[in-house]
Subunit: 281 residues, 6 copies
């Protein structure tokens, strides 16, 4: 019997589309997927598609390289402490320009080109992210902040009305200061505030790898503590810790996937096998 | 670069999903696609999927074979006039039982098994199809009817609330009679009343074939009259005439596709080439 | 002083109309009231009127005789076990045809003729009645089912939008089987799911009669157990037990009335004396 | 066959209730029906009932006798010109007290006692009736006014939310004056502003009588001009002229009925024969 | 730098407007502010303004002097017991006329002249204030009542739709009697039923004065009992007690201000210092 | 009589607040008002206040100086042609960073500090401003654009939900290019698309001055053509021409005011005299 191959592919997605209909996915977008042109286009299509099949994606983006490049062009030198950029007022101004201006608007434009209706916001807009200074014992990081409170009203409003919010990880406080906040943290906080079904980290690795460099498909949060220092090292540690916190606070599932693979996000969501590491209760 | 094959397939549907988002498709379901088990399952999945990606499908089904089978089992003999079954009251009762009972509920059950929320109705329910006796000069066809007026309120209400209406082609009149109406005609009338974007006839042939038996991909309604008697013959003539009437009254496009091909409806809708014949203004 | 006699009659209904405004009444329709033509018309008017004066009637119908008649015409013989028809797949097909096709659509048509906007559904439509096999120790009843779960969303939606749902007592399970369920049980389950104000059984007797054959106007549910075997016998026992269960699960009042009396339902609802037996907490 | 007499009466109203469902009726209430206690109770029940069966009644009341009585008790003497009370500021204050205070609140209280949710308003409230001085050539009538503009927003809002508006015929102008306006005129103006289905005048006579004192059941508006001076005399002339104006401006039908007959309004609305005179296009 | 003086004044109100946006204020209106023409205009403007800046004012008015004046003109003599007028049926009729007719409609007209959309109601309308006889041990006060239950639905409905309710302190009971109720009590009961942010008493004194006749700016409810008999005397005692009850039942703050001062209500609300006495938890 | 001075000031604004309630004002923000700290705070308060008193302000900002400063810091040199910066891709990137990043987010933060709920957008977000290349005969301006089409959906949605949109004048085209557009032009286009009641240009001059340097309070659009070259010179010419176009396309009134004066916008809106030049039909 003749069978439409394309139709066949499409109906294979049916159970997944049905399952996730009306769900909110918070997606941390960063790394190579935000740099390589082909990957940027693929990501934009993926997001536009998720919205059309009834999922509500909310994007939180990073922007590390771009900030460094612009600071360099402006001859502003900054110091780092344990990977965190010590941020004075002049640096902060550049952070805002790059994140909320350059990076955010490019993501928005790309998604819109594929039929999405993206709207770029920072944590300052509609007072989404109230922040506080990140306090370390030994050093003053300046305007590096942590999330104090998320006000997700506008994200809900925009999602409900068919828009795709794209959020820059900048916070504010009542004194009028703005803070540079880690994008993973912002994504996790927003996912918690929205009680999102999924929090997806798009990174530059396949996921969490075991000691033989093989991908671990699933991690239970109760096993995370003992994995720290063994299979979990470097930048993966804070990512997995914020994943754990998200799940403890109501997010259903966290995924870490490799943004270097085109359409990785669709393969992770719309197949049983998935492609990265998922972290569950 | 790694590229998710499945993801790639899915994003290819993006422009179509975007284009048809929120559209109403009236689908005449009949023939082999309603008999063969594998095709029935494929059709059910297709319809559930259309609903999930934002299209509002409305199904109108036929049921010719089933009616004949049941009449035969009940030892009721009927005569035909030019392909129309002369229908007395006793026969009409069987028509209603078979269409609104047997056939309709089976379609509903199958769609629901794949996550749709189908609701089976006849033209009597919520007074959807007001009918009148089909009058021929030479013969009294009994309770064979024609559509007088469509009241589509409940179809709109159900579609808007996430349900998939499945309609049996039975009409009523103010005197309390019920009429057996041709399903192609009912589908066309409902498509007109709803100003549907598409009216799709699922038949047992590939579409309209030319004199060399090659598929004609597109027919303009202005060319239909001169095609009658040449490429258009037999049962295809009333089908194409009701297609023409639909387009003249506001339906955007009519498709004739081969229900013997699995997922033909998805291939017709979600590819540029399509698979059958489309009739346009 | 001149006094409009008709007006006088109408205002006598005022306190009842006021009391029941916006209430949901689940009405089990069966027996002679569904067979005799004059009674059918009277019932249809009653239901149309209830809707117009602000009550939300939901009809659940039986169809015993019609099923037997059709099986006989089709030369299908079935056995009974304690009043329950052992139902194989072939028999089930006839049950669906007769209930959801013949009986349901006739009720719908009649109500609509008097200005109601009835919509006929089975428990399969919109997945209203999820069923399970009715398990007896000694015998396999085949596709005779019991209610597992009621999904009343569409009933609420239709009632709210001015329609009158008419439900055939057919259930489904996830494996795709359909079940023949006792209509009293379905009516009681739906009344519970909707937390209905009234559940009304239209039967062929005046109500529950005492040992001297006099009508008992009111029964408290705490007295039911001791009445079984004395005043409660035969088919009245399961009816009263399902009434008790309904009241224990939130239905306000259950009525058993004689459908052989024209407009019995109006007299029961709109007079203090009533006409049948009411069962209360 | 047993037939419930009460039920029978109720279903006789079915076609009328169906016909008028959701319609707006503006009812001018005055004369004996507003004085006699038994008639007052009957009227209140009638109005509460109309609301419950889906009609939106809006009451405009007069109050002639009560105004005269109170003026007399206060030793305020007034002159009349062609039946119109010449109204100075002091008199106007009494008019407002009697109409918006005494009469209005008594009507409201009575309707509420029978389960209606009446809300008393004057034309000053929510700026419903903007008025202008009624100018006569030969005499200054003081604060006797005519309707300049009706703002029916609050009447629509209250009706939609289940309330029954009861309106005193007092208008205002931008300079802060209040005007005493003929209640028939106000009822007609409101009926026009709401495009009401019916405007019903409750008077103290059976309707328009012919030269042999027999009731004329129906008058066409094209025949009104030639009836003036013959069958139409006295206070009936302005009443019929405002009826004509109402119909010319979109009101469907005007009724003149005898408020001395209990439940006359129900008999007029809910029977074919009616009881008074109806004026139609 | 040039600075717009008027603009400067306006922005000073910004924090207050922001704070009270969407809040409900119940305002007891009486005394000189209801008699003096200039004060009446100022009050009307104040109320219209409160509504426009997003506050929902609900007015409850008294009317003592006017009632006495009208009774006198009608030669009806009444006795007082501890400041309460012993009210027979004939007196009650005058109370209703004066409060719901004369006083209420004048307030409504004035507010509307400044662009408000006031709607005058009594406690009888929409059954807002169900009352009971105020029972004293030693004397029968007749139709003097106390609040039994407040049904605030219509007040919420009107406020939400942009109207300003103006309520006369008249109650009803199920037997059809009407009662004259103290306006302070009615205002407090409505404020409780609406869980109002503020209850504001407009009186003829600056507020509560201490033993040296100096204004007390703020009183905590825990201090009220010990103040009775010392700084609290005469008519101030019941006012402060109903204020205490209001706060104990959910009203945020009660204010007593001097209605003899023009725009006192604005000064109290829109400045930190305020102008009268506020009573708080 | 005591009169609250502050209250008096506030009620003077009553007629204006009433008049503009629910109106949309598009405000072009630029010049000194966007540079001086005191003026920035004053402007932020003004906007928060407008929103609270029921006006829907929509801000369009410029940013000329900031762009120049940043380009300079980055050692990017640009040429000008008749006041327009020739904009290559590298320059455009800086324009987006400065406008949508630095300037936009600072305005948003300041308004939010005074209780507004501002949301910063560019013309790229939600595809608000579709642009086309501004074509001059003699020179290629690069990515300097003109408005082709405004899609105001999100502005309406945000305004209706209590937010204050702040828009950067950047457009996009279907090929994915972004354009730098004159902020006066964008403000005028948005005002036309929204059929705004007012379009307000905040500039650095008092308004249009006559040949004796005296302010012209009002200009009719029919007089504009003959004023060009005489009283209208330099940058005022395009501003007044876009004002004329706005009024011809449905905007009610255009105002040019001096942003160097604190609260000029309030004085212009809330006083009869105003403070700048208004342009009317």
């Amino acid at each position: 019997m003749y069978k439409s191959e394309k139709g066949q592919y499409l109906v294979e997605f049916l159970p997944y589309i049905k399952e996730f209909y009306g769900n909110t996915f918070v997606i941390k977008y960063g790394g190579s997927a935000m740099i390589n042109d082909e990957l940027k286009m693929a990501f934009s299509k993926d997001i536009a598609l998720l919205k059309l099949v009834g999922i509500n994606p909310i994007i939180v983006h990073g922007g590390g390289n771009e900030i460094g490049d612009t600071l360099k062009k402006l001859d502003i030198t900054t110091k780092f402490h344990k990977g965190l950029r010590i941020t004075d007022e002049k640096t902060m101004e550049v952070v805002v320009m790059v994140l909320a201006g350059k990076v955010n608007k490019e993501i928005v434009l790309n998604i819109n080109r594929f039929g999405g209706r993206a709207v770029g916001l920072s944590g300052v807009d509609a007072s989404i992210i109230k922040a506080k200074k990140l306090l370390l014992e030994d050093v003053d990081l300046g305007l590096v902040g942590d999330v104090e409170e998320v006000n997700p009203d506008i994200l809900v409003n925009l999602s409900k009305n068919g828009y795709i919010p794209v959020v820059s990880p900048i916070g504010f406080d009542d004194a009028g200061s703005r803070y540079n906040i880690n994008a993973d943290t912002v994504a996790s906080s927003i996912a918690q505030a929205l009680q999102a079904e999924k929090l997806i980290y798009i990174s530059d690795v396949d996921g969490v790898l075991d000691t033989e460099n093989k991908l671990i498909s699933e991690i239970k949060i109760k096993d995370i503590d003992k994995m720290i220092g063994s299979v979990l090292t470097g930048g993966m540690i804070p990512k997995v810790i914020s994943a754990k916190e998200a799940i403890e606070n109501g997010v259903k599932k966290v995924h870490i996937i490799n943004g270097k693979k085109q359409h990785a996000i669709l393969e992770e969501i719309f197949t049983d096998a998935g492609i990265g590491t998922q972290i569950v209760r």
